[in-house]
């Protein structure tokens, strides 16, 4: 009996070794391939629900919340943005007051910057540092300098109210002061090396979004201003507008004044590709070389727009009430390629 047991045990053991030896991990992608050259969808999640996420589209299939699946913990509340810098991605989680640094290929966390009150966006400063815009218009309005390795704040520069999107052009950092919970109409310009304030440029009311065109000019989307009385009756003070800031002279001109405020309640409503500006109103429009806008994509419930500079494809997010939220991929001429169901409140698509 004892001999039979030993015999069986040794067969089982040998078999298990054989099975493991056959497993060459062929089904598991190598770390360098896993999240390489794929679109990432930034999903804010519902407010106060801790369900913000980054989804990814691989071979036409959506894989949801890869941060959770790779790190076994949730990202947090209201994922506002993600910026890819080299081999890292920096994810801004607005209502959890932090920026997560992850490895671009494995999406494993490499550090967390906490202690932020209202972070919004990240852009690269140099090899070792990033800029983080932070502020709700309540006295906490700064751009912070954060060390990429330690993920600690090392410096700060005061801005206007509600510093939001940022772009770097010609050695200068441009910060759109959206007003936060209040109102503002300026863009702060900061020298990226010295951190000195270069200029405060006046544009339209509540500049939310910015991008850089082929000439290094900064294209600014201004949402416009609405005021409410004690009974929540609205009064439109100003309409939406697009401004262009000359990257060299730092002078701003109103490129397009609209006769209404944009329909979408999103914040990522503008994207540039070369000399073409795309924006979301009651549809997706394109505007080339400051010409008249042309309706490009019809639809409803648009929330955010991004452009893949490599393929010229336009990606638009949709957040219809009472139904799944999605992101749609369009060719440069506005032809729908495919629509993907993603997590709640997608606001942007980020490309490697």
């Amino acid at each position: 009996m004892k001999k039979n047991v030993l015999k069986i045990a040794s067969i089982v053991l040998a078999g298990s070794f054989a099975l493991t030896a056959c497993d060459n991990g062929k089904d598991d992608p190598q770390p360098s391939e896993k999240y390489s050259d794929v679109p990432f969808v930034v999903c804010e999640g519902n407010f106060n629900a801790n369900e913000g996420s980054i989804d990814v589209i691989i071979d036409g299939e959506v894989k949801k919340d890869i941060f959770q699946s790779e790190n076994n913990r949730p990202l947090g509340d209201v994922v506002q943005s993600m910026e890819i810098i080299g081999d890292q991605a920096f994810i801004v989680v607005n209502n959890s007051g932090k920026v997560e640094a992850v490895n671009m290929f494995t999406f494993k966390s490499e550090g967390t910057c906490t202690g932020l009150s209202y972070p919004r966006y990240v852009v690269n400063r140099n090899e070792n540092e990033i800029f983080v815009s932070n502020g709700s218009g309540d006295g906490n309005d700064y751009v912070y300098v954060v060390n990429k390795l330690s993920m600690q704040k090392t410096d700060s520069v005061p801005t206007g109210l509600g510093p939001n999107t940022m772009v770097v052009s010609n050695g200068k950092l441009f910060v759109a002061n959206s007003g936060g919970w209040g109102t503002d109409k300026t863009v702060t310009v900061i020298d990226t090396k010295t951190l000195k304030l270069e200029k405060t440029i006046t544009v339209g009311d509540n500049p939310y979004d910015m991008d850089v065109d082929a000439q290094g000019n900064i294209i600014v989307f201004c949402k416009g201003l609405t005021e409410y009385d004690a009974d929540w009756n609205p009064t439109v003070v100003s309409n939406s507008a697009i401004y262009t800031i000359n990257g060299s002279t730092l002078e701003a001109t109103a490129t397009k004044q609209f006769d209404h405020q944009f329909a979408s309640y999103g914040g990522n409503l503008l994207a540039c590709n070369g000399n073409t500006v795309y924006f979301i109103d009651d549809a997706v429009y394109s505007m080339t070389n400051n010409g008249e806008p042309t309706k490009l994509i019809e639809g409803t419930d648009f929330y955010g727009i991004s452009v893949n500079a490599k393929s010229d494809e336009i990606w638009v997010t949709q957040t219809p009430y009472g139904a799944s939220h999605s992101v749609s991929q369009y060719s440069a001429n506005g032809t729908l390629v495919k629509t993907y169901k993603v997590s709640n409140q997608p606001n942007a698509v980020v490309f490697d």
Binding site: A49, N95, W181, G322, A323
Partner: protein, 664 residues
């Protein structure tokens, strides 16, 4: 003197409807208060657990929420420590579909139909009845999960007693309550006062911010009183007047990971008053009338920081409702066909609100009529000994509502009690009927969010159950087992659906609530041995899930297919409670083990399964005309880390010591 009392009561009856209803100001949330009938007098085929004053006295160190969690199949969702907001529901139906009743009056919040019983002491009541799957004919609106009734029962004999309870626990938690009962053969007056406060500043690990933090802005204080007067004028006329006033003041903590300095504060006060008269016309006929008034006030504020001078949100709500019940019972008994008891009842309700966020004044009225036929018949054995009794109940309800068309509601139930008078009784029961739940005022009228096109939810339920008891011939043990299978269908289910930062309620789904409830109770407390022990095991297998999604604006492959078949959020498929209790002479040790399986909080993600253990040790001292008890509780003995509501951490191991004095 008697005439004067009657005159005063009649005056109260006439004025209760209109008094104080003039002070309706801007309000946030008003819900319709459901009308409930008088207590049922014969078994109805539904599963019912009833706890009398004796069993409640043994648990006076607990509050109602804790007591229900330990002694029933209720599902509790806590947002923090025991005194913070918590909600309870039965059969996975959700908070707003489980009615909490006081003397038959619904206490579900007027804003959103929900209930919060945290920190109301057990000692304020003589009887708690849990009616699982309570019929809509008897209990009215919103009982897909069931109904829990808290009531007093008069003790018409000469007596005087009092009790005092005081405790101190972790997180600077103080609790105290005092109660008293005096009475004669004709009159009983019983009342109590309670107070509690806590910092609720427990430590927890924030897995979003990756640091250990102390809970902020979670402090509260609560106080209240419940008073009850019963008068037995004679064998025919009995009157009751009751009052419940309570204030809850709490800072509302933010979710885990939230870094803002925002401060949310809520203050609620409730005044509930009722007067009832019961007149036994003769041995066959009884007439009862009850009138009730409920006044709720809620203040909610939201600031960007504690120092901020301006409010981001400032909302006040005040509402009042009045309810009237008129019931007539007639009893017929024949030799061969058993006993018939007919009941007829009329109910009226008026709910009023004047709310800026509703866009103006809102009013809703309803009038309902109920007819019920109860029957029971005994079956005799060979020696003319009763071997069993069959109860049957058929009831019909028709409600006329100024907002909705409510169909006829019908319920039929039956119970067979076998060997009821000997040592091993068996009960087989069955009940089925249709049900409904009307939208709340929030659902309907909230500016920009509400949906005035909402329809009431409707459906039906059916349940079967068996309860068997065993006694040993030496009576040293007593075992009762109960198993119930239930199934309910819920159509036009109202769900709040997000659209960005805005949420809207919609009749969006059909759901099914189904499951098995098993319980096993054992005790030897019927003996006089110094060592007494009892055990209680409850196991729930729950399967409430979406069966259909209705058309929405979705035009592509949708979330609808993912929702179909999905279990309802925050309901564990498996839940288990185990409660052993040992007493030896004047020592008592109780343990409560609670297991909940994983629970979904969205379509893909779950809260982990968890097990928590609470332990209570008490030593009593017999004094002349008094009994003193000193005890201590350890909650979450194993320091488990778990959540009952996503992103709301719960405290680790914490303690409470208490002193209790009962004076007879």
């Amino acid at each position: 003197m008697r005439k004067r009392i009657v005159h005063i009561l009649l005056l109260l009856l006439c004025t209760a409807s209109t008094a104080l209803c003039q002070s309706v100001n801007d309000t946030i949330l008003i819900d319709m208060v459901t009308i409930t009938p008088f207590e049922r007098i014969t078994p109805s085929g539904e599963k019912v657990d009833s706890f009398d004053s004796l069993s409640l006295k043994a648990a006076t160190y607990k509050n109602i929420g804790e007591f229900l969690a330990h002694n029933s199949n209720v599902i509790i969702k806590n947002y923090g420590t025991e005194g913070m907001t918590s909600s309870l529901s039965l059969r996975g139906a959700g908070n707003s579909r489980t009615q909490i009743l006081w003397e038959g009056l619904s206490l579900n919040a007027i804003s959103n139909g929900e209930n919060n019983l945290s920190l109301v002491p057990i000692s304020c009541f003589d009887n708690i009845t849990i009616n699982y799957g309570a019929s809509a004919t008897n209990f009215g609106n919103g009982t897909f999960g069931g109904a829990i009734n808290l009531k007093s029962t008069p003790l018409f004999k000469k007596h005087a007693s009092a009790h005092v309870f005081a405790s101190y626990g972790s997180f600077k938690t103080y609790k105290t309550n005092v109660g008293y009962s005096v009475g004669t053969k004709k009159i009983q007056y019983k009342g109590g006062f309670f107070y509690s406060q806590s910092e609720s500043d427990f430590e927890y690990y924030d897995y979003i911010r990756l640091e250990t933090l102390k809970r902020k802005n979670a402090d509260y204080f609560k106080y209240g009183t419940i008073q009850n007067l019963h008068i037995k004028f004679n064998d025919k006329l009995h009157a009751q007047a009751a009052l419940w006033y309570q204030v809850n003041d709490a800072n509302l903590p933010s979710i885990m990971g939230n870094v803002s300095n925002e401060v949310q504060y809520q203050s609620d006060s409730s005044l509930r008053a009722l007067v009832s008269l019961q007149y036994n016309i003769n041995s066959k006929n009884k007439l009862s009338y009850k009138t009730a008034y409920i006044d709720d006030y809620e203040l909610y504020t939201h600031k960007a920081s504690p120092q901020a001078s301006k409010y981001m949100e400032y909302s006040e709500m005040q509402t009042c409702t009045s309810q009237h019940f008129l019931q007539f019972i007639h009893k017929e008994q024949t030799q061969n066909t058993g006993t018939f008891i007919y009941e007829a009842e009329l109910q009226g309700k008026i709910a009023q609100a004047d709310v800026t966020n509703y866009g103006g004044k809102k009013k809703e009225s309803s009038f309902a009529g109920i007819l019920q036929c109860n029957h029971f018949i005994d079956f005799k054995g060979g020696t003319n000994v009763t071997t069993g009794r069959l109860y049957t109940q058929l009831s019909i309800r028709k409600e006329f509502n100024t907002q909705y068309s409510i169909p006829f509601i019908v319920n039929i139930g039956s119970e067979y009690h076998m060997n009821n008078r000997n040592e091993n009784p068996l009960i087989i029961r069955f009940s089925t009927g249709n049900k409904y739940r009307t939208p709340t005022f929030n659902d309907l009228y909230w500016v920009a969010w509400g949906n005035p096109e909402l329809l009431p939810e409707y459906g039906f339920s059916i349940e079967f159950g068996i309860r068997k008891s065993f006694f040993s011939s030496e009576k040293w043990y007593h075992i009762t087992t109960d198993i119930t299978a239930y199934h309910s269908t819920l159509n036009d289910m109202i769900m709040w659906t997000p659209a960005g930062a805005v949420w809207h309620p919609m009749n969006t789904a059909q759901a099914v609530l189904q499951g098995l409830e098993f319980s096993l109770e054992q005790s030897n407390t019927s003996t006089n041995k110094p060592l007494q022990f009892s055990n209680k095991l409850q196991v729930n297998v729950n399967n409430p899930h979406i069966t259909k999604m209705y058309d929405t604006t979705e035009t592509t492959n949708s979330q609808e297919s993912e929702s179909v078949g999905h279990i309802l959020y925050y309901v564990p498929r498996l839940a288990l409670h185990f409660q052993p209790h040992i007493s030896y002479r004047n020592w008592e040790l109780s343990v409560f083990v609670n297991y909940e399986g994983k629970r979904y909080f969205n379509l893909e993600k779950t809260l982990d399964a968890y097990t928590s253990v609470d332990v209570n040790l008490k030593k009593s001292f017999e004094l002349k005309n008094a009994k003193l008890a000193v005890g201590g509780q350890i909650r979450n003995l194993t320091n488990a880390t778990y959540e009952q509501v996503r992103s709301y951490p719960l405290p680790g191991r914490n303690f409470e010591i208490y002193l209790q004095c009962l004076i007879n």
